[in-house]
Amino acid sequence: MTEPILNVEDLSVRISGLHILQGVSFTVAPTGVTVLLGRNGVGKTTTLRAIVGLTPPAGEVRGTVRMGAQSLLARPTHRLVRGGLGYVPEDRCVFAGLTVAENLRLAERRGVSPAYDKVFALFPELDRRGRQRAGSLSGGQQQMLAIGRVLLNDNRLLLVDEPTKGLAPKVVTEVAEVLERVAESVPVLLVEQNLAVVRRLARDAVVLAAGKVAWTGDAQELLLETALTRSLLGVGSGESQHLAEPGRAAPGKDQH
């Protein structure tokens, strides 16, 4: 059996008195996409942020997180990232006042050759829009920039938080295609609400409920169990596919 790339054990996070994660344990396989699912507010983003060391200073984090043999929780974020933990945050977080080229240049590291060829092959538009301010890009283009920025360097694991949030269906499909290609070479821990994207990408699933792990296993099996997805995620897998299948309109979410 292959060793997991990420091992999360008994992870607890308290922020401002709220016990958001209450002893979360799961693993991420060394290949493919592991998806972190759950209803709004169960702690999916908090989990990713705790792994990458971005819990607010007022927060308290306990437990163990290991990437390979390396313990992560005591290390500062910039060291984790330089060590191969790539992070694409929720809401993109591109630097709106900087140009696309400057956003990318920021991710360059001394002594490491940035993989512009790979990034521009995935996102040719970023090459064409190098001098455009990132704040004037569409939501989809900003998402591509956020992913491209991380892919400039080699990663051992990618944490990707709701990459399709608020995107037009066509762009959702494009982002899913890119993540599919990325996941061929680097494992991904993905937070995603769009079950059609999950169906397309995910091999393993971890479902959170009320700050705890409620279910782990094969993502495709989970999606076949309508009663299970309804109880864990509050939506039947068939309904969600209809609502958010790439290529179909997601009402009220078109920001392209």
């Binding site: 971005l54 200073p57 007022a58 910039h78 990232v81 945050p89 006042g97 900087l98 400057e102």
Partner: protein, 296 residues
């Protein structure tokens, strides 16, 4: 006409002084979220170190290259103190706003007390080149050379800061960090180095303000930094936290308003008008002229 020219240029001289103090203050707040009440101390250190060097440092003096050397010494001393303050006192307190305010206010008071204890509370004559005591005729106005020196220095510092922010790697990191510090860290960048750097830049600019302010006013006193800091804070808020260009615009507005109103109205009314201007900006445009953007 001559009076208007004179008031404009002396107002710009005052604006230059405010800008030199405010630019660093603004970058420090914009990037590190530190409201540094000890920033006036860097000005005081720069002024007193220049004053001391002119009389005691071999090769330094009150004229020619000797004066340049004295100013360089003063700027270096202010920069060193700023870096030490960041490394020793501020670094352990990032994200602890109340403690930061307490420490920087305490340091500001202690710094003034230390200067007083060492060199006395009275203002001391500042060693300065003879030509800075003279005036230059510009469009019928006799403008003090000390003020013109301040304006030239501020323009050069503004240009250098903008070039640094626009063209260097650390400038890019600072501009990005002012927007979203956390995301800079998440790209693998140790943002604490940039914090130290902006403190050094701010300390150097404030120390230069101290040295050239000594030339402008003709004296140096322990409380000079604190009194200028109040107006520098007003400039930072009006200009927009984190914006060097915003600070430059705001400094010009504050300097000119102060100078013209103090001359044509009652003495001191200009200061009140500046506070009124601050209130108006806070009500109508709380993010300031440029908002939270490290403009390059």
């Amino acid at each position: 006409m001559g009076t208007v020219i004179l008031l404009t240029l002396t107002g710009l001289g005052l604006a230059a002084l405010y800008f030199l103090v405010a630019s660093g203050l603004s970058l420090v707040f914009g990037l590190a979220d530190v409201l540094n009440f000890a920033h006036g101390l860097f000005l005081g250190v720069g002024a007193y170190a220049t004053w001391w060097a002119a009389g005691n440092l071999p090769g330094a003096g009150s004229d020619g290259f000797g004066f340049v050397l004295a100013v360089v010494f003063g700027v270096a001393a202010g920069t060193l103190v700023a870096v030490l303050v960041e490394l020793v006192l501020i670094r352990p307190l990032y994200s602890r706003t109340i403690e930061q305010v307490l420490v920087t206010v305490g340091l500001s008071l202690a710094g003034v007390a230390l200067l007083q204890a060492t060199w006395g509370a009275d203002a001391r004559p500042f060693p300065r080149p003879d030509w800075t005591r003279q005036v230059t005729g510009i469009l019928g106005a006799q403008v003090p050379n000390g003020g013109l020196l301040l304006i030239i220095a501020a323009v050069l510092v503004l240009g250098a800061l903008l070039a640094f922010l626009r063209w260097t790697r650390y400038g890019l990191v600072i501009r990005a960090g002012v927007e979203n510090r956390e995301m800079v860290t998440a790209l693998g960048i140790d943002v604490r180095k940039a914090f130290t750097l902006v403190f050094a830049i701010g300390g150097a600019a404030a120390a230069l303000a101290g040295a050239l302010g000594g030339v402008y006013f003709g004296t140096v006193s322990p409380g000079q930094g604190s009194s200028l800091l109040i107006f520098a804070f007003i400039v930072v808020v009006i200009g927009g936290m984190g914006s060097v260009v915003g600070s430059a615009y705001a400094a010009v507005v504050v300097g000119l308003v102060q100078q013209f109103v103090n001359y044509y109205g009652t003495s001191g009314l200009g200061d009140i008008c500046v506070v009124g201007l601050l209130a108006v900006v806070l009500l109508l445009r709380p993010q300031g002229i440029a908002g939270k953007v490290a403009t390059a």
